[in-house]
C-alpha cells in the first residue's frame, strides 16, 4: 500500500504541471459551486420581495382568494422542506397582507399540492429546482387553475413558468407571454410594459 502511495506521489512530483492543473480544475469546480449557490440564493431572496407584488398586480387576484378570504401563497418543494418553510415564513412576515388581503404562506410538497383534494392556492412559488416532469405537472396545474407559478430560477420562465426574474443592471419581472395567455392570468399593463417578456 505504501508502495502505491509513494508511487503516486512520485508520479505527481514528476509532473508538477499536471498536479497544478488538477488542483486548478478542482478549485474552479468548487468556486463554481459556491458562486452558483450564492447566485441562486440571491435570486431567491430578490424573488421573495417581488413575488407578492406580482401576485398583487394579477387583475383577478380577488377571485383566487381562499374561502376565508385570504391570499394563499404556496411554496412548493420536492425534497427541501426546511427551505420552503423558511421562504414561506419570510414572505409571511414581510407581507402580512396584499392589497389589504391577509396572506397565508404555506410550504407544500409538490405531490401534495398536485393531489386533487389539495387546497387551491392564489399563487405558487417554486422553492427548489424541479425535474422536467414535475415542473410540467406543476405548470399544467397552474394553467388549469389560472394561477401564477413563480420561479426564481434561471431558465424556468423559458420552460414555462408564468413569471420569474430578468437580471441585468437592474431586476425586472420576467413574464412568459404564452403561459400568461394559456392560464388567463392578466397582469397590470403598466407593470407589464416595464417588464421583460418571453414570447
Amino acid at each position: 500500500m505504501s508502495h502505491s502511495v509513494q508511487s503516486e506521489s512520485l508520479t505527481l512530483s514528476r509532473y508538477p504541471s499536471k498536479a497544478l492543473l488538477l488542483f486548478g480544475v478542482a478549485a474552479l469546480g468548487c468556486l463554481h459551486l459556491v458562486c452558483g449557490a450564492d447566485t441562486i440564493d440571491q435570486r431567491v431572496q430578490i424573488a421573495l420581495s417581488l413575488f407578492p407584488r406580482i401576485v398583487a398586480v394579477d387583475k383577478r387576484f380577488q377571485e383566487k382568494l381562499t374561502a376565508d378570504n385570504k391570499a394563499r401563497l404556496v411554496f412548493v418543494y420536492e425534497r427541501d422542506k426546511s427551505k420552503a418553510v423558511d421562504l414561506a415564513k419570510t414572505v409571511g412576515t414581510t407581507n402580512r397582507n396584499i392589497v389589504n388581503v391577509a396572506v397565508d404562506t404555506v410550504p407544500v410538497q409538490l405531490i401534495d399540492q398536485l393531489a386533487e383534494n389539495a387546497q387551491a392556492p392564489t399563487a405558487i412559488f417554486i422553492t427548489e429546482l424541479l425535474g422536467e416532469d414535475d415542473f410540467k405537472q406543476l405548470l399544467l396545474y397552474g394553467i388549469n387553475r389560472g394561477i401564477i407559478v413563480f420561479s426564481p430560477y434561471s431558465g424556468d420562465v423559458e420552460r414555462g413558468a408564468t413569471v420569474g426574474l430578468a437580471i441585468t443592471s437592474r431586476v425586472f419581472p420576467y413574464f412568459n407571454s404564452g403561459t400568461l395567455r394559456a392560464s388567463g392570468v392578466e397582469i397590470n399593463p403598466m407593470l407589464l410594459e416595464m417588464s421583460k417578456r418571453y414570447e
Partner: protein, 782 residues
C-alpha cells in the same frame, strides 16, 4: 545590393504594416464587440442605479399623497450634473401614477443623441400594490463623449504606429547603408589591386562592423593566397620549363644514343663477323695462337655489342619507343632455353642450378625476347655473384586479385646486397659499388632494363637481399598480358606451342642435317646491303652452306637483280644509300611474279612490326647471328618449294602436334577436322601427302577415301592412315589397297609418323604401302 537593401526594408515594412493592420483589426473588433456594449451598459446601469433609490423616495411621498415632495425629488434629480462634461445627468424624469396623475420635469439639454431610458414601477411596500412608474431619461452625451474620446485615442495610436513603422524603416535603411556601400565596393573592386575596404563615415552596428572586418580579413587572405599562387605558378612554370628542357635533353640523348649505337654497330658487325670467320679458318689451318687472339677479338666485340644493345634498349625505353611483341609460349620451354644458356657460366663458378617449376605451368603470353632477356639477366647476375653456391629458379602460377600471374623467382647464395645497395639497384648505370664493377664487370644497365621491360609488360621485379647471405629476385608478370592497340603482336611471329615433351621428341632428329639434305644446293640468295663488308661476310657464310650468293649494293641494283635472277631468298638491309629497304620490300610484295620470294630483313634498327606488316618473311638484327641466319635462310628456301601435308583428324591436339613436327621438318601443313572438310581442302589445293585419321565424326576416313577415289585427279595422292582400331587381316588388306601406309594409332610415335611422311616424300612418285606397327613405345605418353 540595392535589391538586397530594398528587399530587407520592404520585408520589414510589410511585416510592420501587417502587424499594424492586425493590431488595428483586433482593437476595432474589441472596440465594437466588447468596449461599446460595456460602455453602453455602464451608462444604462448608471441610469438604472440613479432611478432606483429615488423611486423609493417617490413611493413614500406618493403614499403620503405629498406630490410637492415628489416634485422636489424630481428637481433634485434634474440638478445632478456630470462633473467631466458639466452637463445635467438627467434629461427628463416622469412619474405616472395609477390614478392617472403625471408629474414630469425636464432639463433644457440640446442633445442630438437619444438618451438612455430607465423605468421602474412604484409599489406600496406594505401592501405590494402598484402605485405607478418612474421614467428617467439619462443624458447620453457622456456616453458619446466617451466613445469619441476612445476613437480619438485609437486614431492617435494608429498614427503613432505608422510613425513607428516609418522610423523603423528609416533605422533599418541607416543600418543597411554600410552594407550597401560594401556591396558597391565589392562590385567594383579590382581583385588584383585589392586594398583594405574603406571604412564608412557613419557609425555601424556591431554586427555590420563584424561583417566589415570579416570582408577585410577575407581580402587579406585573398591577397596572401594570390601571392602564394603567384609563387606556386612561377615555381610550376620553372619546373615545367626544366621538365621540358630535361625531356628535350633526354630525347636528344636517346636520339644520340640510337645514332651512335647504329654507327658503332656497323663496324662492330664487321669486327665480329670477320673475327668469327677468321677464327674458323685459323682453326682449320691449325694456328692455335692466332685462334686465341681472334677469340679475344670476337669476345670483346660481342661484349661491346651487348653493351651497345643495352644502351640502345634503355634509350628506346626512355624515349617511349619500346614496343611489345606478344606471343603465347610454353613457360617450361622458355625456362629450358634460358637455363641452357646460363648453365656453362654456372659451371664455371662451380654453382649448382636447381629448377623448381609447376608441372602444369602452361603458357604465358608475353614479349618473349624481353622476358628471356630479363630472366637471363637475373640468372647471369645470380651465377656471376655466387661462387660454389646454389642458384634456385622457381616458376609458379599465382592468382592475385582474380588475375593469373606467373612468378619467376631467382634465389642465390651469393654475396648479397646491403639495404643501401638495394635502394639504387635498379637505377641505370648503377652497381652495388665500384669494387663490384671492378671485380665482376658489367655496365649496371641489365637490372634497369629488366625492370623497365617487366613494367612495360604490366609486371614488376622485386628484390630481397642480405649482405653476405644471398639475394632473391622475383619477376611477376600477368599470365596473359593484354595487347595494347599500338603494339599489336605480329601474326607472322606467332609461335606454335605444344607440350614440351612432344616438342623435345620432335627435335630429336637432326633437323639441320635433314634440311641440308632437303634443300636445293643451287638455291640463289640475293643480298642487298650498301655495306660491302656486310655483303662479303654474308656471301662467305652462305657460300659455305652451298648457297649461290649474289650481292647488290643499292636498292635500285637490288630490284634489278631480283627481276633478273628471281632468287629463292632475299636478304635485305633496311638502311640503303639510295632508298630504304622498306621501299624494296614494298616493291617485291607488289609484283605478282616476285611476291612469293621470301624476304629476310637485316637491320640494326628494331622495327619488326613494320617489317611483318609490309610482308617480310623473317626479321634478323645486326650484328648477324650466323646460325640464326643459316636456319632462317634454310627455312625460307625450303618453303619456296615445299610439299604440303593435309592432316585430317578430329583431335585438335593431334593436328597441332602433326603441324609442329611437319613444319619443323619443312613441310607446309593444312588441317581439316573431318573427312568432309578434308575433301574441301583437297579441292582447294591438292596436297603432296594426306595424313588421315580413320575414325572421325561427320565423314570418317573410309568415306573420305571413297570420295577421294571417285575423283581421278585425286587418286594419286599418297595417304597415310592412322587408326586406333585393331584391324583383322581382311580389314588390313582392304585398307592396304587404298592407302600408302597404315599406322596403328595409340602405339605410334612421332618419329614413326615423321618417318612415314619422309619416306613418301622422298619416294613421292613410288608409293609403296607399308605397315608400321611398334609394339611398345615408352615415349608414347607425350
Amino acid at each position: 545590393m540595392n535589391k538586397f537593401y530594398s528587399h530587407i526594408t520592404n520585408k520589414v515594412t510589410v511585416f510592420l504594416v501587417g502587424i499594424m493592420v492586425f493590431v488595428l483589426a483586433a482593437v476595432s473588433m474589441h472596440w465594437i464587440l466588447i468596449m461599446l456594449p460595456v460602455i453602453k451598459d455602464g451608462e444604462q446601469t448608471k441610469a438604472d442605479l440613479l432611478v432606483t433609490p429615488y423611486t423609493r423616495l417617490i413611493e413614500q411621498s406618493v403614499n403620503r399623497n405629498d406630490l410637492a415632495q415628489v416634485e422636489e425629488i424630481l428637481n433634485h434629480l434634474l440638478l445632478l450634473r456630470d462633473s467631466k462634461l458639466n452637463q445635467p445627468m438627467v434629461v427628463s424624469i416622469r412619474v405616472a401614477l395609477v390614478g392617472g396623475a403625471v408629474i414630469e420635469k425636464a432639463n433644457p439639454v440640446n442633445s442630438q443623441y437619444t438618451p438612455f431610458i430607465a423605468e421602474t414601477p412604484i409599489f406600496d411596500s406594505s401592501t405590494s400594490v402598484l402605485l405607478g412608474k418612474t421614467n428617467l431619461e439619462y443624458n447620453s452625451e457622456l456616453y458619446h463623449h466617451l466613445i469619441d474620446d476612445a476613437e480619438r485615442r485609437l486614431y492617435v495610436a494608429m498614427v503613432a504606429v505608422i510613425l513607428l513603422i516609418l522610423v523603423v524603416q528609416r533605422k533599418i535603411s541607416l543600418l543597411l547603408k554600410p552594407l550597401n556601400a560594401l556591396a558597391h565596393y565589392l562590385e567594383s573592386v579590382d581583385l588584383n589591386k585589392a586594398a583594405a575596404v574603406p571604412h564608412p563615415r557613419n557609425k555601424m552596428a556591431m554586427e555590420i562592423t563584424q561583417v566589415w572586418q570579416a570582408v577585410n580579413q577575407l581580402f587579406s587572405r585573398l591577397q596572401l593566397r594570390d601571392e602564394q599562387l603567384k609563387l606556386g605558378h612561377e615555381a610550376a612554370q620553372s619546373a615545367l620549363k626544366q621538365k621540358l628542357d630535361a625531356e628535350s635533353a633526354n630525347m636528344a640523348k636517346s636520339q644520340f644514343l640510337a645514332n651512335m649505337s647504329h654507327e658503332l654497330r656497323t663496324p662492330l658487325n664487321a669486327i665480329i663477323g670477320y673475327s668469327e670467320i677468321l677464327r674458323d679458318e685459323m682453326a682449320h689451318d691449325s694456328h692455335p695462337h692466332l685462334t686465341n687472339d681472334l677469340n679475344k677479338i670476337y669476345t670483346a666485340g660481342k661484349n661491346l655489342l651487348s653493351l651497345i644493345n643495352d644502351v640502345l634498349d634503355l634509350s628506346k625505353i626512355e624515349a617511349g619507343k619500346m614496343q611489345l611483341f606478344l606471343e603465347e609460349v610454353k613457360v617450361n620451354l622458355l625456362i629450358d632455353e634460358v637455363l641452357n644458356i646460363v648453365k656453362p657460366l654456372a659451371e664455371k663458378n662451380a654453382n649448382e642450378i636447381e629448377l623448381d617449376i609447376d608441372a602444369g605451368i602452361g603458357t604465358i603470353k608475353v614479349d618473349i625476347m624481353k622476358l628471356r632477356q630479363s630472366l637471363l639477366n637475373l640468372l647471369s647476375n645470380a651465377v656471376k655473384f655466387t661462387t660454389g653456391g646454389k642458384i634456385v629458379l622457381q616458376v609458379y602460377r599465382e592468382i592475385i586479385s582474380d588475375e593469373e600471374w606467373i612468378k619467376f623467382v631467382v634465389k642465390d647464395t651469393g654475396i648479397g646486397l646491403s639495404e643501401t645497395q638495394v635502394e639504387t639497384l635498379f637505377d641505370a648505370f648503377s652497381q652495388a659499388d665500384m669494387s663490384t664493377t671492378r671485380r665482376y664487370g658489367g655496365t649496371g644497365l641489365g637490372l634497369a632494363i629488366s625492370q623497365k621491360f617487366c613494367r612495360l609488360m604490366g609486371g614488376e621485379i622485386t628484390v630481397e637481399s642480405k649482405l653476405g647471405k644471398g639475394s632473391v629476385f622475383t619477376i611477376v608478370l600477368p599470365a596473359y598480358i593484354k595487347e595494347p592497340a599500338d603494339t599489336k603482336a605480329d601474326q607472322g611471329s606467332e609461335v606454335q606451342f605444344v607440350d614440351s615433351n612432344k616438342l623435345t621428341r620432335a627435335r630429336k632428329p637432326d633437323i639441320r642435317k635433314i634440311r641440308d639434305e632437303r634443300r636445293s644446293k643451287t638455291s640463289t640468295v640475293l643480298v642487298i646491303d650498301d655495306d660491302p663488308m656486310a655483303c662479303e661476310l654474308q656471301q662467305r657464310h652462305l657460300s659455305k652452306q652451298s648457297y649461290e650468293v649474289v650481292c647488290a649494293s643499292s636498292g635500285e641494283e637490288g630490284i634489278q637483280k631480283i627481276n633478273e635472277i628471281l632468287p629463292e631468298v632475299i636478304l635485305l638491309d633496311v638502311m640503303l644509300t639510295d632508298m630504304s629497304g622498306w621501299q624494296v620490300l614494298t616493291y617485291v610484295k607488289s609484283q605478282s611474279h616476285l611476291v612469293h620470294i621470301p624476304v629476310i630483313m637485316l637491320t640494326m634498327i628494331n622495327d619488326k612490326h613494320t617489317a611483318y606488316s609490309l610482308g617480310a618473311t623473317a626479321y634478323l638484327t645486326k650484328p648477324i647471328d650466323w646460325d640464326e641466319l643459316t636456319l632462317t635462310v634454310n627455312k625460307c628456301v625450303r618453303k619456296a618449294g615445299q610439299e604440303t601435308v593435309l592432316v585430317i583428324d578430329d583431335d585438335a591436339d593431334a593436328r597441332k602436334l602433326a603441324r609442329l613436327i611437319l613444319e619443323n621438318d619443312g613441310y607446309a601443313v593444312i588441317e581439316a577436322e573431318n573427312g568432309y572438310l578434308g575433301l574441301m581442302r583437297v579441292a582447294e589445293r591438292i596436297p603432296s601427302i594426306i595424313l588421315l585419321d580413320l575414325v572421325m565424326p561427320n565423314m570418317n576416313g573410309q568415306e573420305f577415301l571413297n570420295e577421294l577415289e571417285l575423283n581421278e585427279s585425286w587418286q594419286g595422292i599418297p595417304v597415310i592412315a592412322l587408326t586406333a582400331m585393331e584391324l583383322d587381316e581382311n580389314e588390313r588388306r582392304g585398307l592396304e589397297k587404298r592407302v600408302s601406309i597404315i599406322i596403328q594409332k595409340g602405339i605410334y610415335s612421332i618419329d614413326q609418323v615423321l618417318g612415314a611422311v619422309r619416306r613418301i616424300s622422298s619416294k613421292n612418285q613410288h608409293p609403296n604401302t607399308q605397315n608400321v606397327k611398334i609394339a611398345d613405345d615408352k615415349s608414347r605418353d607425350g
